[in-house]
Symmetry: C2
Subunit: 304 residues, 2 copies
Amino acid sequence: MTIDKEIIADWFKLLQNDICRQLEQEDGAGKFKEDLWERPGGGGGKTRIMKDGQIIEKGGVNFSAVYGKMPEKISDALQLENGEFFATGVSIVIHPHNPYIPIIHMNVRYFETLSSSSSKWWFGGGIDLTPHYVNPAEAGYFHKQLKSVCDQHDQDFYPEFKKWADDYFYIRHREETRGIGGVFFDHLNGERNKSKEELFEFVKDLANAFAPTYRRFMKENRRKAFTEKEKQWQYLRRGRYVEFNLVYDRGTKFGLDTSGRTESILMSLPSTASWEYNHHPKKGSKEEETLKYLKKGINWLDHD
Amino acid sequence: MTIDKEIIADWFKLLQNDICRQLEQEDGAGKFKEDLWERPGGGGGKTRIMKDGQIIEKGGVNFSAVYGKMPEKISDALQLENGEFFATGVSIVIHPHNPYIPIIHMNVRYFETLSSSSSKWWFGGGIDLTPHYVNPAEAGYFHKQLKSVCDQHDQDFYPEFKKWADDYFYIRHREETRGIGGVFFDHLNGERNKSKEELFEFVKDLANAFAPTYRRFMKENRRKAFTEKEKQWQYLRRGRYVEFNLVYDRGTKFGLDTSGRTESILMSLPSTASWEYNHHPKKGSKEEETLKYLKKGINWLDHD
């Protein structure tokens, strides 16, 4: 028996529910508000946004399942013949109030295409962490959680997907990574000697690791005191997050290009962000220390 | 006698000086700080930034003159053979404190390419205005100033370049213009039955109209009272400005792509910007009124 796309989409819906429930529980006050939307060409989504919770300043946990005739921009980008497509996924970005709690992002997605001559399917996704202040022990913990999920499915996954995240979440014009990375993968399909069922199990396990991992960061850092100066630094780091998402992020560009639902796509942008011309943190400051960690190729497993 | 590129670059340098002097005079307190930079492949620039003046919250008036072997991204984008290039220009973005003073942008530039089989030159540029609150009389005044400069050179310029600005300064994913437009042009060369001298005179006259036009907006609105709510609206409008610059602006993308000086390019971003999920101003509010004006094809000359 092979799983079909409805089963995957249904699981993603349940995932959205579960993650929203867990984040609300950990926040203790904020609630997600839901907007249902429909896509003129077929399908739609549920956008869920939390604003001004106790811990979460702005967070989005979005589900969508869209289908229909493949937009030309998609067939061109994927170098596919024209035909039908189906895409479903969950996308999450959380911006906390406290600069000592990191920004987190997760996306898991499933794609199917059908043209006159062929049909394809694949999974994609990733989880990455963007601390305003890098805490190496926390980064080590985060990467160990991801590695542990990956290793249960394939020993090659963590090293490969960790490198992929380093390369993907990179702000080229700043020569810095967005944060401390995580895992990123795309076009995961049968070519990897894994069945669709096996890959789906991997995606499920990874997605299920999101909430407990982030809850730990919420719990441990929620009472950390911070100054106005640290808040300013958070705004500058968020400015870099905006730069990455608007200049490089393929999902964002793709969504905006293909007339996706703009408000759902741009929920990833923070409430407030800042830019300061030629800002350089003081030598020896915590801020300078953080910049040193925004590099590709750091083995975070060594940190704890 | 034909003018050569050094004469144009020198004039742009003087333009930068003059505009900085006039903006400092009108601001009354803020001063531009200068950074000189060099481009590894040839040439460089003078970046001048004002921060926290009395009127100007953040402003950049940048000069550059760069040359050398044409980067592949440039020859590809311009569909030119590989060869040498020379580019000089002045770029300005001013973000004021007071939400009743508009954001303004100007760019004037000159480009030359030389390959084994041909040489080309052209001027490009534009001025456009982004009010946080659209004041139709002010928009009318702005467009009349631009039309008056254009008409002295060619009766077709204003209508053509006004439409070009409407199309260029357009945030497609929001279905709204960045502001009330202005003029925009590119690839102005001898094909327009104008000599290089004549086109240069047009560019000079346009660039010289920048400072007096913006000074009027500074002077007239500097004492207007505003509330915290109006400041929040300004931050949201700045968010759209960031979206335009990072997602669509060719100069920005090009600069980031070709490893230009990132800090000089991104001086266009405001000190602070905000995003709010699915924000819709109240019916009948000033904010809603402004959104109605952010459309292509408005004849602002009718407003005064």
